[in-house]
């Protein structure tokens, strides 16, 4: 008997604080899953499949889902949520979803799932926020860097990225340097109705590079196997980042290809933590000036299932990550638009970045998702600039 849906009890009850995390990982379980749902009580899972499949294959999918549930939820430690700022109840003048209007105005053009071209209004909004982030960087006398979009596989291997985030990797390669392969590609390459490029896998060279998932990693690699100056390092850079999100790709809230501005601190523990805190306080003033509705609260990175339970609990316990979560009035929810991060001496150890006394350096960064913050702004303030903060009206008129 075949069926295109599947409902079963979770192997262990998923605690409420993990339902969203487990749900996001179900997107990676099987290519035949179209949609997943976890009951609010955390004990029932429903899957909608793209097409009907036999019972044996449904059982295999259920087994994979239970692996995710057990790995993430069994023995999970409830995180200690710490709220550093809470301005979610600031009144904002707009309540609709900005996506339809952005598409109607030609401000957004979807090239593929999670990939958008941005129009003039959106681009100028991003520039406005970028100027504020650059002012933040200047306040620390941060040195500007430009980093490549590609990142060598061996770099990511050295910092354990493959174990922690395998699901979100994006690989970059090229045709093998062989005239026959290149000629055959040029003659026969075409896309099918799903947009899949029909090319034999053996046409491609071995993968040595990926599309970079973060900006600050590039700085850490430039500092590898070196001793830092006594005053530490503060740097800033903006770059394209790539994190594949499977079924979770959604509007501008969750992109595959996005842009991130970071201010990065490398030095001893006190230096990094003090600067991270200073950056938070300075951004608090910037957000206050425009009346942005948001909250800063402790969070964890989206580690993959095998690493999730331990890594997320560790981040939570040591308060290593705080997210800036902007209110999205149209869905009565929030969206992470930035984060304040402290990595302890993780990169210092793995990359042999040393303080003058020979001990491993500590690192931290503040990061802002440019598309997301502009999107959240439009979701709160709408398209009519007369309702925008006065400091922005001067620019956008």
């Amino acid at each position: 008997m075949t069926s295109s849906s599947l409902q079963f009890a979770a192997a262990v009850t998923i605690p409420d604080h993990l339902i969203g995390e487990v749900h996001s990982k179900l997107a990676y379980v099987d290519e035949r899953i179209a949609k997943a749902h976890i009951s609010p009580s955390g004990d029932q899972i429903t899957l909608e499949l793209k097409y009907a499949i036999p019972a044996a294959e449904r059982a295999a999918i259920e087994e994979k889902v239970q692996r995710v549930v057990l790995s993430m939820a069994k023995g999970a430690i409830r995180p200690k949520v710490q709220v550093l700022e809470d301005y979610l109840d600031r009144p904002t003048p707009f309540a609709a979803d900005p996506m339809p209007e952005l598409l109607r105005r030609g401000e957004l053009f979807q090239e593929a799932e999670g990939i958008y071209a941005l129009g003039p209004l959106f681009t100028r909004l991003i520039e406005w926020f970028e100027n504020r982030f650059l002012q933040l960087a200047d306040s620390f006398s941060a040195r500007p860097y430009r980093f490549p979009t590609l990142i060598p596989a061996r770099f990511l291997e050295r910092v354990g990225y493959f174990r922690a985030f395998p699901h979100s990797l994006s690989f970059a390669t090229h045709l093998r340097t062989d005239l026959d392969q290149i000629d055959a590609f040029a003659e026969g390459a075409s896309c099918d109705e799903h947009g899949h490029l029909k090319v034999p896998l053996e046409s491609f060279a071995p993968v040595r590079t990926l599309l970079s998932p973060a900006v600050c990693y590039h700085l850490y690699f430039t500092l590898a196997d070196q001793t830092l100056p006594p005053q530490g390092v503060v740097a800033t850079a903006v770059g394209n980042c790539f994190r594949y999100e499977s079924l979770n790709l959604h509007s501008l809230e969750r992109l595959w290809n996005f842009t991130m501005r970071e201010v990065i601190f490398v030095g001893d523990k006190e230096f990094v933590l003090a600067n991270r805190e200073l950056a938070r306080q300075r951004m608090q003033r910037v957000f206050g000036e425009i009346g942005f509705a948001y909250r800063v609260e402790s969070a964890n990175d989206p580690f993959f299932i095998g690493e999730f339970r331990k890594q997320a609990a560790f981040q939570s316990a040591f308060q290593l990550k705080y997210e800036i979560r902007a209110r999205l009035p149209f869905k009565d929810g929030t969206l992470a638009v930035g984060s304040y991060n402290y990595h302890q001496d993780f990169f210092g150890r793995h990359l042999n970045i040393r303080l003058p006394d020979g001990s491993p350096a500590h690192t931290g960064c503040v990061a802002f998702g440019l598309e997301r913050i502009a999107f959240a702004f439009l979701a709160q303030f709408g398209f009519d600039s007369i309702h925008w903060p006065s400091s922005m009206q001067e620019v956008f008129g």
Partner: protein
């Protein structure tokens, strides 16, 4: 073998737990060992230590405690002050 190793039974049980969690010979676990002193006692290693302590001592460790139990001495103090040192 480290010079700083006691014959205190509780400390020895803690050392055994750390040895198993970090996959380090027990001789490498000194009484003054702390998070970060060994490459194995990193973030992942620390969570292995926490889970091993839960198993060995029959306790439940919460998020606040995870951040506090960062040395053999701190673990011993926690177990003693919470009367959790009885054999499991």
């Amino acid at each position: 073998m480290s010079e700083n190793v006691s014959s205190n039974p509780l400390t020895n049980r803690i050392r055994e737990a750390l040895s198993l969690a970090l996959q380090v010979p027990i001789e490498g676990i000194s009484d003054d060992l702390a998070f970060g002193d060994l490459p194995q006692w990193d973030s992942m290693g620390h969570m292995e230590v926490m889970m091993r302590l839960e198993e060995s001592f029959g306790i439940e460790i919460n998020a606040e405690t995870i951040a506090a139990l960062t040395s053999v001495a701190a673990i011993r103090q926690y177990l003693e002050s919470n009367h959790l040192a009885a054999p499991s």
